[in-house]
């Protein structure tokens, strides 16, 4: 896909996010909007995916979402990529839905390989899946996205220590580096310090990219892919803006987990062109 088409897809994903969160008056629009470009880049361009879905993901790249609260962007992308009908997005967070508030395998939604929501667990699971690929002689990659606030969980650093020691080099971790969390900026809540230095000290190949610039996102992911198989895992510090694409949600932690009202929805949709058709 060319960059323009990817950007148009990301705009539609952003529309889906805002509409889904508005429809159930709950969910997490801020981080979802910020990561829309990454999800579209991964699922529509970068990842080598098989048609259909099987849990083992043998013979294809697999993706894990560790910060499960940005489920709207995950669900929209999965639907737009063909894992299930886009009409199902209307069931988000409603009773008897496969689109639970946080992603789960429990309801059998295609595209989801592990439950997430309680933070800090996705990197470990991704490492396990990467080790299984090595045992299976499956030369594909494992991607995992984490939030930056999530790095405050200790388990992340247990996993960060394990992967370089064991040369898990078929793994690309991405940190959504938007500098915001529920109670405020990460700087205010619990400073992350020098993230590049921290990951490098743990033995990772560290890359940076602008996650709200499609060209730069593609470039960053391509660079990380090139480093695969060279004895070291890679982590991408991905700068994003929470709420990206909707002016009144941008750059603030206040839209982390708040739904827009009718008026705010109209204002948001006016900024996001309907490129692929609403669900």
């Amino acid at each position: 896909m060319n960059i323009e088409t990817l950007e148009q897809t990301a705009t539609q994903v952003r529309r889906d996010i805002v509409r889904m969160v508005h429809a159930c008056q709950s969910g997490h629009p801020g981080g979802s909007l910020g990561c829309a470009d990454l999800f579209v880049a991964l699922f529509f361009e970068v990842m080598d995916r098989k048609p259909g879905f099987d849990m083992d993901g043998t013979g294809e790249d697999v993706f894990f979402l560790s910060n499960g609260h940005i489920s709207p962007v995950f669900y929209s992308t999965l639907a737009r990529a063909g894992y299930f009908e886009i009409s199902e997005l209307a069931t988000f967070r409603k009773i008897n839905s496969r689109l639970q508030g946080h992603p789960t395998t429990h309801e059998g939604l295609p595209g989801v390989r592990i439950a997430s929501g309680s933070l800090g667990q996705g990197l470990s699971a991704a490492i396990g899946a990467a080790l299984a690929k090595k045992l299976n002689k499956d030369n594909h990659l494992v991607y995992v996205l984490m939030g930056d606030g999530e790095l405050q969980e200790g388990q992340v650093w247990e996993a960060a220590m394990f992967a370089p020691h064991n040369k898990v080099d078929n793994l690309i971790a991405i940190v959504d580096y938007n500098g915001q969390q529920i109670d405020g900026s990460t700087e205010h809540v619990l400073s992350l310090g020098d993230l590049r230095a921290k990951w490098e000290a743990f033995g990772w190949n560290v890359l940076e990219m602008n996650g709200n610039d499609m060209a730069d996102t593609l470039k960053g992911l391509a660079q990380a892919k090139q480093q695969a198989g060279k004895g070291q895992p890679s982590v991408i510090l991905m700068r994003t803006e929470m709420g990206n694409g909707v002016d009144f949600m941008m750059g603030s932690h206040k839209w982390h987990g708040v739904a827009p009202n009718d008026e705010q929805l109209a204002s948001a949709l006016a900024q996001l062109e309907e490129t692929l058709g609403d669900y």
């Binding site: 395998t105 929501g117 299984a132 996993a159």
Partner: protein, 317 residues
């Protein structure tokens, strides 16, 4: 009373180590992980046989549970090994979300469960693990009674699809079950048929129940003894059938009286077939340092305590 004897004592954790090697030989998807306790978990033989299928994760149990969950994606059957305390309480949320709720085929193998860990004391003697694990939807909970049964259980769980908690212990205890037994998950084992009282025991307490049964026989009391090696799913049919015959119950376990085997039996009986019941279990306290035998005596978990509980429950019939 059926006669049981033993020629040697062995630790149940060694049964796990031996069973793990057999499981690994039978299925190349069996892999193992350990959090810096290879010797204690008796995993050396597996590592020697299958070095590429073993992962040392260091002192990082949360990460171990997550990696195990991830390994199932790709068809692996991971066995995690560490002490029972670090296998459950320390990593409850990792097990809950990444393994149980995610329906992952992980075998959580836990040694040094209960008081018989001994001298290390209460920090390491978890007495709440059965309760923690049995409350998780979809989790199978198994507590075998001796070396042979632990070996058989370890092999059996490799062929069972779904998360399992396998609990075993540190000390050498009598080996009295059949070395060639077929282990059936969820199927209680009739140790001795009797008519006066039903004794449901699990883990190390099964041997104590046999010793108690012999003493009771001398007193003219005919005890039925059933080994509940699988606490979840509970063999309800076997329990109800036995209690229909005997009319009263003693449960025996190396666990807190809250949330363990006794409570599973009590819940079943309360809803289906009420009967008087006495618990042989730790009375809602932490343990302490001491030898296994001293601790089992002090906390009321030996054959004499089972005999006393039987005498008490018979009066309530």
């Amino acid at each position: 009373m059926k006669k049981y004897s033993f020629t040697e004592k062995k630790d149940t954790r060694s049964g796990f180590g031996a069973g793990l090697v057999e499981a690994g030989k039978k299925n190349e998807n069996v892999v193992a992980l350990c959090a810096d306790l290879i010797g204690s978990l008796k995993m050396n033989d597996f590592i020697k046989e299958f070095p590429e299928r073993f992962f040392q994760v260091g002192i990082a149990e949360a990460n171990m549970m997550g990696i195990a969950a991830g390994l199932t994606i790709g068809g692996k059957i991971p066995f995690t090994g560490t002490f029972a305390n670090f296998s459950t309480g320390r990593v409850y949320d990792q097990i809950r979300q990444s393994i149980a709720y995610s329906g992952k085929n992980v075998k959580i193998c836990a040694s040094h469960a209960g008081l018989t860990l001994g001298e290390d004391g209460a920090t390491h003697q978890i007495l709440e693990d059965i309760g923690l694990m049995k409350m998780l939807p979809g989790m199978t909970v198994i507590n075998p009674c001796d070396y042979n049964q632990t070996k058989a259980a370890t092999e059996a769980i490799a062929g069972h699809e779904g998360p399992v908690y396998l609990r075993f212990g540190r000390p050498a205890v009598p080996v009295f079950t059949d070395p060639d037994q077929k282990f059936e998950i969820g199927k209680a084992w009739m140790v001795n048929e009797g008519k006066d009282v039903s004794i449901f025991a699990t883990g190390h307490l099964v041997w104590e129940a046999i010793l108690a049964g012999e003493k009771l026989a001398e007193m003219g009391i005919d005890a039925e003894i059933i080994n509940i090696h699988t606490i979840k799913p509970l063999d309800a049919e076997a329990v109800l059938k036995s209690v229909a015959k005997t009319g009263c119950v003693v449960t025996a376990e190396e666990h807190n009286r809250l949330g363990g085997l006794g409570d599973s039996i009590a819940q079943l009986l309360a809803t289906k077939q009420p009967a008087p019941q006495e618990y042989v279990a730790v009375n809602d306290s932490f343990g302490e340092s001491g030898t296994p035998a001293q601790l089992m005596e002090k906390y009321g978990l030996n054959a004499d305590n089972i005999v006393a509980a039987v005498q008490k429950v018979l009066k309530r019939k």
